[in-house]
């Protein structure tokens, strides 16, 4: 007589067909198109554990007319409001040597159809501003 049974144990999330996902953007004034630089959408039946995100900008040569300089990582949950947990944004005229960097504190779990986007914009003109944004995470089966 069977008096007990154990359900089949489910593997931990990192053993459920994990795929390592990483995106990196680097660009400088005049060398890239403003806006989204990479987009990752979580496929159906998967989850995405974003463990690292970075945004940075540094000024090699001062701009000649001030404007937006922004490097950000944007997370948009499916059907939800987008958030920018990493966002370096400056509006003032930058001077050579200025650096702004930001790392994600903690981690984010993104559900199916959610997106992770690297965003970089320079509307300030002249000079040489270097931009970078990057993300890393593990996509795994629900």
């Amino acid at each position: 007589m069977r008096i007990s049974s154990y359900a089949v144990a489910r593997p931990a999330w990192y053993d459920r067909q994990p795929v390592e996902i990483a995106y990196q953007f680097s660009g400088s004034t005049g060398g890239f198109t403003n806006g989204d630089q990479f987009t990752y959408t979580v496929p159906a039946g998967k989850l995405f554990y974003l463990d690292s995100a970075f945004g940075g900008q540094w000024v090699a040569t001062a701009v000649t007319a001030s404007g937006v300089c922004q490097s950000a990582v944007v997370i948009t949950p499916s059907g939800g409001t987008s958030v920018q947990p990493v966002d370096t944004r400056t509006y003032v005229q930058l001077t050579a040597g200025t650096t702004q960097i930001q790392n994600l504190g903690g981690s984010i779990l993104v559900k199916p159809a959610g997106t992770v986007i690297g965003y970089a914009v320079i509307t300030a003109t002249g000079g040489d501003v270097r931009m970078s944004c990057a993300v890393h995470g593990i996509e795994f089966s629900q």
Partner: protein, 97 residues
């Protein structure tokens, strides 16, 4: 997989182009053409479209395609993405351009 695709212009100076794919990494774009060369996950491209891309060189943003991108492959790509991202009706309509 590196693919050259046609892009949509949005008219927004901060976000001037829209790429009709769920997951991509932009390598180079020209909004005046308009085309972009992007890196997309291999799993997002069905086998027939991958074969077309392998057979059709796109060395830069300007050189036209040797053979036009067939409507049947465009439909195949749309449906593949709709299934993979489980969003019912096809939301992305990418075309090799």
């Amino acid at each position: 997989m590196i693919v050259r695709v046609g892009i949509t212009l949005t008219g927004n100076v901060l976000q001037p182009l829209s790429i009709p794919l769920p997951t991509w990494s932009l390598l180079v774009a020209d909004v005046t053409i308009p085309r972009a060369i992007v890196d997309v996950p291999d799993g997002d491209v069905p086998a027939d479209v991958a074969a077309y891309v392998a057979a059709t060189p796109t060395p830069d943003l300007i050189t036209p395609l040797l053979t036009p991108f067939p409507a049947a492959l465009a439909r195949s790509w749309r449906e593949h993405l709709a299934r993979r991202y489980d969003l019912g009706e096809a939301r992305w309509k990418p075309e090799v351009a």
